[in-house]
Symmetry: C2
Subunit: 172 residues, 2 copies
Amino acid sequence: MPETVVLDATRATTISQILVEVVSASNRLTRVAARRTGNTESPALLRTLSTLIASGPMRIGELAVESRVAQPTMTKLVRTLGEREWVRRIADTADARAWQIAVTKKGERALEEWRESMGAALLPVFADLSDEEADVLARAAAILHARIAGEIGSAASVTGPASSVVEEGAAR
Amino acid sequence: MPETVVLDATRATTISQILVEVVSASNRLTRVAARRTGNTESPALLRTLSTLIASGPMRIGELAVESRVAQPTMTKLVRTLGEREWVRRIADTADARAWQIAVTKKGERALEEWRESMGAALLPVFADLSDEEADVLARAAAILHARIAGEIGSAASVTGPASSVVEEGAAR
DNA sequence: GAATATGCATAGCTGTGCTATATAATTGAC
DNA sequence: GTCAATTATATAGCACAGCTATGCATATTC
């Protein structure tokens, strides 16, 4: 196995190029999806919801890290989500500065409806995928999800049990 | 092969779900990429550039369709691209209302640099992909690109030869 | 040549993202 | 136990990408 360094450099280049193609394809797919669904749904809100559903209630700061946005951005998103009653804020008994953010039933339904409408909107473009192509897409999504989930050292999902049930507005 | 209808419905559901997973993964990947690159580059500008490079000079309206944005959005993007000297506007001799938008060398370089920095930024997260995983991602990107390109009836790339070489600001 | 259609620009809004900074609570040092 | 430093969220204010509605100029059609 000679010239390992050269081989590795080549391989890194190849992987980089593939990643760029994936990002580029993602970028376009996002636009196609936005236009076909009529653009009424917000990716950021749904991303936040699905993070919460996947990992359970967590603090705003943790949510910001998981969702890859700055903390003030997440504060805004959580406010909007709260106004729609898709999440509720639960006081954190261990730290009066913090809140646990939890998805409501309504929020779960909203995400589910979004997934249905997104699937329906994109289906016509992809309906005649071969089984093999469909499999490739499914595996690619799984690979991306796994890598992205693993990208953060630890984060979240460690917070769960410490929260109380005091709703916002109640005496603290 | 009995119950074709039921089977097809099931298959449609499966494909829909896969597509939703792909969109969801894309959405997250976009955020990871934005954060890791330091977020200085704008996806919309680069999407426009790469469309122009792939399909050659075209009108603002065509570019809007290809890039899946509304026409006023594209007008703004083209203005920004022009200010950066990444594109130039060429008068369309066949129609005085229209412009042909063409990428400059500077624009090509900007896209190339973006691709390099994006690849470098994401590589650490994906460096230890197996050859097989890398292949799955590459094929998924190709499938998405092909479908998205095919989604529009015809559009663009039919416009090329009709344009002149009169630069903006020159007598029209 | 007047009416209609088309291509682009402008105005003005919303939402998502950012940084810098404020406020309040917690933690740590002494 | 109090004061300083740190931490969690909120607020302010900005930029940009997206949209719809609409205006303006040029083409096209009858």
